[in-house]
């Protein structure tokens, strides 16, 4: 039964004891900060130039157990994980995100886990290993919860992960499920203090009477441990489902957006947040529009955008007022009357919005297209790319089976010259903004061997189907690429296909 919304939410216990999993680091030691990778984005997305680097399975609970005992993680990564492709619902990857250097790659899954992969260190005699990622740390970020007042289960599924810029040896990331955002610290420890004589081996204080001398403890090397510790829990601020989190360029605040509201948080303060957008009508019967995604401008800490289910984007300036209920800019494309149908609104609903690295453009993804908007032009996008226009005649079936509500995300490459987004049948698309060329690639186990060049795929649209084409009717709509990520400076991409994470890179000449 429906319960009316309580004024105060039940305070759920969010305290997590230090959660740590011992992990073996692979290869030679290196400084955890790592140096920024060289820029190599000039290559663009030339057709057919992508190769599979590795296919990683997010470790299941079973493999997590074995990892604690197993000494060689790589063995697990290469044999165990790759050979066992059983997947449960909990293993389905729900978000993928590179950190700011590209050294780490985080995935979140429906089971509430976060798995962090670390890039294999480059070495001159192992050129073929370039771009390989291995498991670095795994931790349970969110647990399933029950809201007793609303009689409601809160899923543990990780909706989004965002990295904070690195400021010391530790890494920080935000992860969120439908209701609660958490700040995690991921740090390494390879030394431990030894030789205390005030405590015994088990850490109990010795009887002071028995201590005759004081010994200075020394740091001794030990097996490398990667610890993930929850540092902050930002709870009880969202009535609806959180769809986006975005770290501000001031690095002190971030925002979280749900279907009807956007909140602004300070990283240091967990018990209060500022509501900066609220589109909830006084009378919920009048509700016709929801917030679908939101993001801060990459350089201007006062500016952010949010997209809506009506296909519009609002740019807000937090300097204008505390509550940004009046937008500064409103981006909307007039509807094409020749394409009007009952599904017009549904397919124009924006599933993702991303600022370009430069901050000059906004990219939006709707059901059939990706659009690039210039911040200085509100009345139409400057570029529109068809992702899978052949589905336009299938919208009724896609509505029927609910695929039409799938939320595809989109990403920019490091130099904002190429954009990438997913489709069905494990296909994903890249569009080169300069050459206007596009390519369809497939992330599948069957069709890609490590180091083999990916063959561009083609979907047959009407007429005769050629040999290597696939017809629209044989596309598998259960295999969808919703989440992808592009390395911040190199041509390395991560593509999540259910419980598989594929890493591709452009071919080295």
């Amino acid at each position: 039964m429906l319960l009316s919304l309580p004024a105060l939410h039940l305070q759920t216990s969010e305290y997590h004891p230090l959660f740590q999993l011992p992990h073996r680091r692979l290869g030679p030691w290196c400084s955890p900060t790592g140096s920024p990778a060289p820029l190599s984005c000039e290559t663009g997305c030339g057709e057919g130039s992508w190769i599979l680097v590795c296919r990683l399975l997010v470790p299941t609970q079973v493999s997590l157990l074995s990892m604690e005992e197993d000494i060689d993680t790589r063995k697990i990564n290469n044999s165990f994980l790759r050979d066992h492709s059983y997947a449960t619902e909990a293993d389905i990857i729900s978000t993928v995100e590179f950190n700011h250097t590209g050294e780490l790659l985080a995935t979140g899954d429906k089971g509430g886990r976060v798995v962090i992969f670390q890039r294999e260190q480059e070495s001159k005699n192992q050129v073929h290993r370039r771009g390989e990622y291995n498991v670095y740390s795994t931790f349970q970020s969110h647990e399933p919860e029950f809201d007793y007042l609303k009689s409601l289960e809160i899923e543990e599924k990780i909706n989004k992960i965002r990295w904070l810029p690195q400021q010391n040896a530790a890494y920080f990331l935000l992860s969120t499920n439908d209701k609660t955002v958490k700040l995690w610290k991921v740090s390494e420890r390879d030394k431990r203090p030894e030789g205390y004589n005030l405590k015994d081996e088990e850490g109990r204080l010795r009887d002071p009477a028995t201590i005759t001398t004081l010994r200075v403890p020394v740091l001794r090397p030990m097996d490398l441990m990667v610890e993930a510790t929850p540092r902050r829990v930002f709870a009880n601020a969202h009535t609806y489902h959180i769809n986006s989190i975005s770290v501000n360029s001031d690095y002190e605040t971030y925002m979280s957006a749900d279907d009807l509201r956007i909140n602004l948080w300070n990283f240091e303060i967990t018990n209060q947040s500022f509501n900066i957008v609220d589109i909830k009508p006084a009378n919920m019967e009048e509700l016709t529009e929801v917030i679908t995604a939101a993001e801060f401008h990459p350089h201007h800490c006062n500016t952010f955008v949010y997209s809506s289910s009506k296909g519009t984007i609002r740019l807000c300036d937090m300097r204008a007022s505390a509550l940004c209920d009046r937008h500064t800019k409103f981006f909307e494309e007039p509807e094409d009357p020749s394409n009007r149908s009952f599904f017009s609104e549904i397919i124009s609903s924006i599933s993702d919005v991303k600022f370009s690295h430069s901050g000059r453009y906004i990219m939006t993804r709707d059901y059939l297209t990706v659009k690039v908007w210039d911040l200085n032009m509100e009345n139409r996008p400057i570029e529109t790319y068809q992702v899978h226009d052949y589905l336009r005649s299938k919208l009724c079936s896609l509505y029927e089976n609910d695929c039409i509500f799938d939320k595809f995300e989109c990403v920019w490459n490091g130099s904002d010259s190429v954009i990438m987004t997913g489709s069905y049948n494990n296909f994903f698309r890249m569009f080169d903004r300069n050459t206007k060329r596009d390519v369809t690639l497939e992330a599948s186990r069957e069709n890609s061997k490590p180091r083999a060049i990916l063959k561009p795929r083609k979907v047959c649209v009407g007429g005769k189907r050629r040999k290597d084409e696939i017809s629209v009717d044989s596309l598998d709509f259960s295999k969808k690429i919703l989440h992808t990520a592009w390395h911040p400076s190199e041509n390395i991409i991560a593509v999540a296909a259910t419980n598989n994470l594929y890493i591709f890179q452009d071919k080295v000449n």
Partner: protein
Amino acid sequence: MFARGLKRKCAEDEEAVPAYSLQRQSLLDMSLVKLQLCHMLVEPNLCRSVLIANTVRQIQEEMTQDGSWCVPVPQTAGRASRDRLVSTEILCRSAREGARPAPDPGDPASELQVVPAAQAPGAPPGGAWDGDGPRENRGSFHKSLDQIFETLESQSPGAVEELFSDVDGSYYDLDAVLTGMVGGAKSGQDGLEAFASAAAPPPSASCKSDLGELDHVVEILVET
């Protein structure tokens, strides 16, 4: 009850008009079933619910405006056959191009028959389902549908799956409707025929009131 052959002939003769209204009706039915399912969840996906509700509003507004031309809807509303579903693809194309002929003023019957279109099968409970419809005509399917909704409303959302996983014969019809009305053609024919006749309310009912029902559904949906 009209003979099947007659319906078919009718649809062929008038081509685009009945095809379009039929598909629109089918889309409306589908949307209302989806909304009903959203209603069962404590916290439905708000974006999806809003988009479906807007679609229903749009269809019903259009039906209110130019309802007078959709002739064969009442006869065929409950058909739920494979033809109906496949042909809905026409809706994916432009809703307005070509499929918008002038109303036929010469046919007084059409005006009478239009109205039920908006109140046909999938209307929310409290409306056509357990309201004014001639109760004696209710088929077993209709009853089981009400039963299911009653049961579901008193249970946690987790029970939905359980319930649907071991459906018996009488529940199968709903299952078919829920998974896309395709299966209905196979074994659900009788139930659906009955469903159709039961769901046709008196012609005096207006589309406006149905919009009110919709608002009610939306209200329930978003109450969480």
